[in-house]
């Protein structure tokens, strides 16, 4: 259960070396940079080195040029061969490229705009197909006003009502909602008729006055002009493509270098400048300290001071696990990173997840399929869940051998519950025929597994809490020593009596191992107060008692600062104590019962496969095989998925809540490409 040990590195040096130092930090790949200290309100004449955004404008310019040329930029492109190092070099290159493409690009934009405009006019003209008069002549009339446009179909009927008005109305193409039309009125009546048609929803089409001839002639002319434009556009495109082919690769590399330089500039915001020297700090994995120090020292005129991390430092957390457990870090990160001085629960999660999944979904055939799927997904995709699928597939296969289940068939391998020593241990006089006959055995085993896991997580909580000096959680908490003794004694007492016939529940046993721990939990507050008054700080954080630390308590404590401590009456103390105790006892019961689902899923898996087996028996030959194949695919997908979720639920609610102390911040090594590596 390891968290990578980190050391704190203070780096200071001459201001002129700041960029090189930052670059080295990025190249080291193992430096987590701290934000700058808050020097406001101090007498120090320190200031933060602000990001000047020197390269941002050039990055935007490079992007714009790439857009114009149709070049796809890659910020990860190798840029070693790019010799430009200062802003003026980059500017000179971009200016030259701009000069080469500007004229061609502007020509391309102009032609495109012209084609769009002509295309719109052409489409408008299509609506007036069949109009055989000359546009130019009609538009030139002095006493007549022609209006081309479209009118809502519904409004055409209304025109019957206005037959006495001075206008001629011609319909052309009719579409779903509109009819393209022309109305002609006199110059004198134009305002009234325009108002009338406006009210009827008439929309005028933009037809330029340069149109000549009938609709067909005008349309043909426009098409021919557009063809000419397209040729010109093709030439412009060709020229731009030539520039792109010549300069595209270099532009991409220049862009990558600009991004890289800009990112190191962004880090400058974390640097404090004082008396012409720079200062910043960060964390380095202890195993990499030597290499890191050597790299920074190579810059010259820079010193690195390394010290161990103390409890007051807000050190970042880097999980360290072997290949088997590493994929399960995803689940831990989903819940929250452990505190820096806490414990990495990944190994526990990995073991329990694989164990519980295998128990709940034990089938050799289906497990192997899941494993193969997981391996393929791991190879093909980068999905974090893929390696987990492979591992739980193996676990499922192992438990499948124990359960004697191969694709739901329980005849091929002898299941463990048919071994005489096993079934006799659970009180059976003969071997259970199938899983259903052994259901009691599975439920008892599920409870035993649950009890073991609860006790294990209590031990973990005790160790972690005591290591962090949290006496409340470690000793008096529901998951502390008192809780462990109470729960363990109760289970041993009851289990011994029921299963083995050993009567452990003597008055001394009950008073010493069951009542006393409960009393200690009940009186934990006065006991902790007494310890505090004797100078022993119990560091009560409330963590480890099933409560996730959200920082709320600290905020509330801050709000309470300056206010007198609230005095609790004896009556209130007793009521609260009883409620707490009742809740704790209830949670022990409900959490233990929660593990019954393990047995439940064993039975449901067998039940589902039995259903498909019965259906398969109704068919012959290929039909029977098809049903079994479908059944196995369905059960593997459906139940396999549900079991995965249920196990995760057990992990998060039943296990994590007992010991997990979150609040850790992830270790993010600064990177030259602004990509953060966690």
């Amino acid at each position: 259960m390891a968290i990578e040990k980190v050391s704190l590195a203070y780096i200071e040096g001459s201001l002129r070396k700041v960029n090189k130092t930052l670059k080295k930090c990025c190249e080291s790949g193992c430096f987590h940079m701290n934000p700058p200290p808050d020097t406001s309100g101090t007498e120090l004449a320190a200031k933060n080195l602000k990001d000047k955004g020197l390269y941002e404008r050039m990055i935007k310019r490079a992007k714009a040029l790439a857009d114009n040329l149709g070049v796809k930029l890659d910020e990860n492109a190798p840029f070693d061969e790019i010799e430009y190092n200062v802003g003026s070099d980059f500017k000179k290159y971009l200016d030259e490229l701009d000069r080469q493409q500007a004229g061609v690009y502007e020509e391309q934009v102009r032609i495109n705009s012209e084609i769009r405009s002509k295309s719109a006019i052409y489409h408008n003209l299509l609506g007036f197909s069949g109009f055989d008069a000359d546009f130019a002549e009609l538009l030139a009339c002095k006493y007549l006003k022609p209006r081309f446009g479209r009118i809502p179909n519904g409004s055409i009927k209304k025109l019957d009502f206005y037959t006495e008005k001075t206008f001629f109305f011609y319909q052309f193409e009719k579409k779903e909602n509109y009819t393209w039309c022309l109305y002609i009125t006199t110059t004198a009546e134009a305002n009234n008729i325009d108002f009338l048609f406006g009210g009827l929803g008439f929309e005028r089409s933009a037809l330029p006055d340069y149109l000549k001839g009938s609709t067909d002639e005008a349309a043909r002319k426009l098409l021919s002009e557009m063809d000419e434009d397209l040729v010109k556009l093709g030439e412009a495109d060709k020229k731009l493509k030539e520039i792109a082919a010549r300069e595209g690769d270099k532009l991409s590399k220049v862009y990558a270098k600009l991004v890289s330089l800009n990112s190191s500039y962004e880090l400058r915001a974390n640097v404090t400048v004082f008396d012409n020297s720079f200062h910043f700090s960060g964390y380095v994995p202890t195993k990499d300290v030597k290499r890191f120090t050597e790299m920074i020292n190579s810059v010259g005129d820079v010193t690195v001071n390394i010290r161990d991390v103390t409890a007051d430092d807000k050190a970042p957390v880097m999980l360290k696990n072997n290949w088997l457990f590493r994929p399960f870090e995803m689940f831990v990160k989903m819940y929250g990173l452990p505190a820096a001085n806490g414990m990495d629960p990944t190994p526990l999660v990995a073991i329990t997840y694989m164990l519980l999944y295998g128990m709940m979904f034990g089938d050799l055939g289906q497990g192997l399929c899941i494993m193969i799927l997981g391996i393929i997904l791991t190879k093909v995709t980068k999905a974090g869940l893929a390696p987990i699928i492979a591992r739980i597939g193996v676990s499922s296969s192992v438990f499948g051998i124990l359960y004697g289940s191969v694709f739901g068939n329980e005849e091929i391998i002898q299941p463990f519950f048919r071994l005489p020593k096993i079934y006799e241990l659970f009180g059976y006089t003969e071997a259970p025929h199938d899983v259903f006959k052994a259901s009691n055995m599975f439920l008892i085993l599920a409870l035993i597994v649950g009890v073991c896991l609860i006790l294990t997580t209590m031990i973990v909580n005790i160790i972690v809490s005591l290591r962090m000096g949290d006496l409340e959680s470690g000793i008096f908490g529901a998951n502390g020593i008192c809780g462990f003794v109470f729960y363990g004694s109760l289970i041993v007492g009851l289990g011994g009596g029921i299963a083995l016939g050993i009567e452990l529940m003597t008055p001394a046993y009950i008073i010493g191992l069951i009542a006393l721990p409960l009393l200690l939990i009940f009186f934990k507050e006065p006991i902790l107060h007494a310890l505090e008054s004797r100078g022993i700080k119990p560091a009560r954080t409330g963590k480890g008692s099933g409560v996730i630390d959200t920082g709320l308590k600290e905020k509330l404590a801050k709000m309470q600062e300056g206010k007198p401590a609230e005095k609790k009456s004896v009556g209130m103390f007793i009521i609260e104590g009883f409620i707490d105790l009742f809740e704790i006892c209830l949670s022990y019961l409900s959490n233990t019962m929660s593990y019954l689902r393990i047995g439940g899923f064993v039975l449901s898996h067998a039940g589902l496969m039995l259903v498909f087996s019965i259906i398969a028996d109704m068919f012959d030959g290929a039909g029977s095989v098809a049903v079994l194949v479908f059944g196995n695919i369905f059960v593997t997908g459906f139940e396999g998925f549900i079991v995965g979720i249920q196990v995760l639920r057990l992990e998060f609610y039943e296990l994590f809540s007992r010991f997990f102390k979150g609040g850790g911040i992830p270790f993010k090594s600064v990177s030259i490409n602004t990509k953060v590596q966690v």
Partner: protein, 338 residues
């Protein structure tokens, strides 16, 4: 199945109604075109607005498209109803028919048939019982009486339309009565017991509000006397009886009393605005929103939805009007039914 389908569809459509935040966003639009662009992105309006050029659209066109969207959505839901097409589920078509007939009567009486034709929603032509062009071509109310003769309105309106001195307000009241009578007859065919009573209550709530509004306007704008107003009341009520209105009209300051009645529990449960009608509108909006959420009856659900959609279209009209006349958003917001 059909019952559930209309109810479920109505609830689904109600989820697409505009939210308060969206109203606020609309209030801050600077032009009708901007409102149109916004409505193009909303599922209830996208179909009607899809081909619209937001640079060319004007207020009347935008409003007409909003109304059309409401109607199209109603027709779309109606397709899920497998019962009689001319039953109570056609209430919204009958309501539009009533409104258009009232507009026609008013236009013919004032000689402005063009304005009726101009604003007539052409998409309802195939659903209503009269031809709008023939109605608009009627030179006077006597001609209208002949045009309406073959319709259900012919008989009840004949005497009033052929009167040498026709009373337009009485004709309007009679048209409204025709609508209520039609609705009640259809409800009796469709529902029994508490469901029957609840559906009738839906229609009577509007009658109460319409009666009060008419009294208020006749009294405040025309100083009409109590007897005259009494003649124009729709003879149906739920919570606001004829007697209560009479008593209010005969007080020393009837305008103030009537104004106060808008925010009594008889008409409005909401007291959210200084504008009497807004309180009524908001009360109705909240009531029907609740009914839509709890109702298992398809007519209740669809009627409630249509009331909510009408409220939304009213809000959009007010927003567009506010933008058109350059009102500050806070001022327009006072008139919104939310």
């Amino acid at each position: 199945m059909a019952n559930n389908a209309v109810t479920a569809k109505s609830r689904a459509v109600s989820g697409k109604l505009l939210t308060r935040d969206e109203y606020i966003s609309l209030l801050h639009k600077s032009s009708v075109g901007a409102v149109t662009s916004f409505l193009k992105t909303r599922p209830l309006y996208a179909a009607a607005f899809t081909d619209i050029d937001e640079n060319a659209v004007h207020r009347a066109r935008a409003e007409s498209l909003i109304e059309r969207s409401v109607f199209d959505n109603y027709i779309r839901i109606l397709k899920f109803h497998t019962g009689k097409k001319d039953g109570i589920m056609s209430f919204y078509i009958r309501r539009i028919e009533t409104e258009q007939l009232i507009k026609a009567v008013t236009a013919i009486a004032s000689g402005s048939q063009e304005s009726f034709m101009f604003s007539f929603p052409e998409y309802v032509t195939d659903y209503i019982c009269f031809d709008p062009i023939i109605v608009a071509e009627a030179k006077d109310l006597v001609t209208l009486s002949m045009v309406l003769a073959p319709t259900p309105y012919g008989k009840p309106l004949h005497k009033l339309l052929t009167d040498p001195e026709p009373d337009v307000n009485k004709i309007i009241t009679t048209i409204n009565v025709c609508y209520i009578q039609w609705a009640f007859a259809k409800i009796d065919e469709f529902a029994f017991g508490s469901s029957n009573a609840l559906l009738k209550d839906f229609f009577l709530r509007k009658t109460d509000a319409d009666n009060l509004l008419m009294c208020y306007r006749m009294k405040s704008a025309f100083k009409a006397d109590a007897d005259r107003i009494g003649e124009l009341l729709i003879p149906y009520h739920k919570r606001l009886s004829r007697k209560q209105i009479d008593e209010a009209l005969r007080t020393s300051d009837p305008v103030s009393v009537l104004r106060e009645m808008f925010v009594t529990e008889r008409v409005a449960t909401a007291r959210v605005s200084d504008i009497p009608e807004i309180n009524v509108n908001v009360s109705e909006y909240r009531y029907f929103r609740h009914r839509l959420a709890v109702s298992a009856n398809e007519v209740e659900a669809l009627y409630s939805l249509m009331m909510l959609m009408k409220a939304e279209s009213t809000n959009l009209f007010r927003i567009i009007e506010g933008i058109r006349y350059g009102l500050p958003p806070e001022e327009t917001e006072k008139y919104l039914i939310v």
